[in-house]
């Protein structure tokens, strides 16, 4: 309760600051509309018949991309984290792939996968694999060695070892990776929709209704929507983290 209150205070402070800065003319209102305007636009979004399918597409794609990234990255991270030679052999490829900017790859991926939602989902999943993968690998390295020895001495079969010891140990930090990935995949998703088109989505909406008409209020209303969805999912992940791995002191709050 108190936490929620503090968050609210923080948010209100931020909004007030923004409003004041715009009203004082530090930033021109045509470029950065004040929150009062943006929030009104934001409220109006939901009565816009075109926005709803856009939002559904983006959010759905987001879940798919994130789920894809997690299902690839967690097992791979556990594998690479525990098998040294595999990690060494794959690291050049991983390190060459990692810095590839999704945005520059758009045409290539469209060529392979088509211009539908597959492309943005693939790009978002690609970009969001890394935080989960890396945090998982690092978390594997940080498991107390005494604990690992104990499991070995108990001859826990590999699968059980994975589910009862490795996963609980790495879960907090891996989840932090997931939360990072959540925002990165959202960013890539929206950017792809925005920069390439060919599909529907909030990015496309913002492009059509905001940018192509020079309407920053619409752009920021879209941004607020994106941020809000992101925030809600982040909260969901956090509370899952608290519930399932409450024993750990670690596990983020941001």
């Amino acid at each position: 309760m108190r936490t929620a209150f503090r968050r609210l205070i923080g948010l209100v402070c931020f909004l007030v600051l923004w409003e004041v800065i715009v009203r004082l003319g530090v930033l021109p209102a045509a470029v950065v509309p004040p929150p009062s305007t943006v929030l009104v636009r934001f409220a109006g979004l939901f009565s816009d018949a075109r926005f709803v399918p856009d939002a559904v597409s983006t959010v759905l794609s987001w879940f798919i991309a994130l789920a894809l990234a997690v299902t690839v990255a967690v097992p791979l991270g556990v594998l690479l984290g525990s098998i040294r030679w595999l990690r060494l052999s794959l690291s050049p490829i991983v390190e060459f792939l990692r810095p590839l900017p999704a945005v520059a790859l758009i045409p290539l991926v469209i060529l392979l996968l088509g211009s539908g939602a597959q492309t943005k989902i693939a790009l978002a999943a690609f970009a969001s694999v890394w935080p989960v993968l890396f945090n998982t690998i690092y978390a594997m390295g940080e498991i107390d060695r005494q604990l690992l020895e104990t499991v070995r001495a108990l001859r826990t079969p590999p699968l059980r070892r994975l589910f009862t010891v490795l996963l609980p140990s790495i879960a907090p930090f891996t989840l932090t990776g997931v939360r990072l990935s959540a925002s990165i995949s959202l960013v890539v998703l929206v950017s792809t929709e925005y920069l390439s088109g060919g599909t529907i989505g909030v990015g496309q909406f913002v492009y059509l209704w905001g940018t192509s008409a020079g309407r920053m209020d619409m752009v920021l209303a879209g941004v607020v929507f994106i941020g809000l969805v992101g925030y809600l999912v982040n909260q969901a992940l956090l509370s899952a983290q608290r519930r399932w791995i409450g024993w750990a002191a670690t596990g983020g709050a941001v």
């Binding site: 390190e95 890396f134 932090t176 959202l186 950017s191 925005y194 941020g227 002191a249």
Partner: protein, 268 residues
């Protein structure tokens, strides 16, 4: 680590990579798609783009000084600021649940917002030029550092907290001697993620507009002019940059985490 082991590791590292490139060449060559030139084509385009300069410049073309160096500068500036701001902020927030409460909603909002959408805002607030590009890099690169550091800082073991308190460890001793070392492995995970994100955002920032040089600018220009082998050359350069940057960071990490039993085997 003895010599034999070293060689084995080296071989393991590169055999897979060489096989990867070989398969790529084969597939791309037989596909003959203009968007996917084979590595050999990319190589010749790269030679043409970067090594066509006069002998007095070691055959380097102007691309080095005009595009690659400025990009590197912006990349490093953005990354350095992200690290310098992110680590201390992460340590502070990790140890103070209350401060975290106040900022957490804004943090998620901020990190879910694509920099591409905020170009006009950045343009107005920071102007055309390096400042805006650095901010764009910072905008994306700070989050992994911040979040991972927060996580790391929270993970101080109860017994160690009590030990530090019982011995009345000074504030700086607590932060630099206990919290930071505890967080360090996670901080490094964050730094490595941030580094590749910084490279990506460096490219993105240059193609969002306002730039007149840089790797990303040339990349998108090559793409726009359908000089696809050149575009691939720039893409490969970005990869290479990421690889080298990561190598440097790993070396730093090996030193800083030398004590860590879990990271002992990482010498290569």
């Amino acid at each position: 680590m003895n010599g034999g082991r070293r060689w084995l590791d080296f071989a393991r590292r590169w055999v897979v990579f060489v096989v990867f490139v070989g398969v790529w060449q084969l597939v791309a060559y037989s596909a003959a798609n203009p968007y996917f030139p084979p590595p050999s084509g990319i190589l010749s385009a790269a030679g043409h783009t970067w090594f066509s300069g006069p002998a007095s410049h070691l055959y380097l073309s102007g691309a080095f000084t005009d595009d690659i160096l400025p990009s590197l500068g912006r990349l490093l500036a953005g990354f350095a600021i992200a690290a310098v701001a992110g680590i201390p902020a992460g340590l502070a927030l990790g140890r103070s649940a209350r401060a975290t409460d106040y900022v957490s909603p804004m943090f998620f909002f901020a990190r879910a917002v694509p920099a591409t959408l905020l170009v006009p805002v950045f343009l107005v607030a920071f102007g055309i030029g390096p400042r805006m590009e650095i901010v764009t890099v910072l905008w994306g690169a700070i989050w992994p550092i911040l979040l991972n550091t927060i996580d790391g800082a929270r993970a101080v073991d109860e017994v160690k907290t009590e030990t530090a308190r019982a011995f009345r460890i000074s504030r700086s001793g607590w932060i630099f001697g206990v919290v930071l070392p505890t967080a360090l492995p996670k901080v490094f995970a964050g730094l490595r993620l941030a580094l590749s994100l910084a490279i990506i955002l460096m490219v993105v920032s240059e193609l969002m507009g306002g730039s007149t040089n840089g790797i990303g600018y040339q990349l998108i220009n090559a793409q726009g002019n359908f000089q696809l082998p050149q575009m691939w050359a720039w893409i490969v350069l970005v990869s290479l940059l990421g690889y080298v940057a990561n190598l440097v960071l790993s070396a730093v990490e090996r030193r800083a985490l030398g004590w860590h039993p879990g990271f002992q085997a990482e010498e290569v």
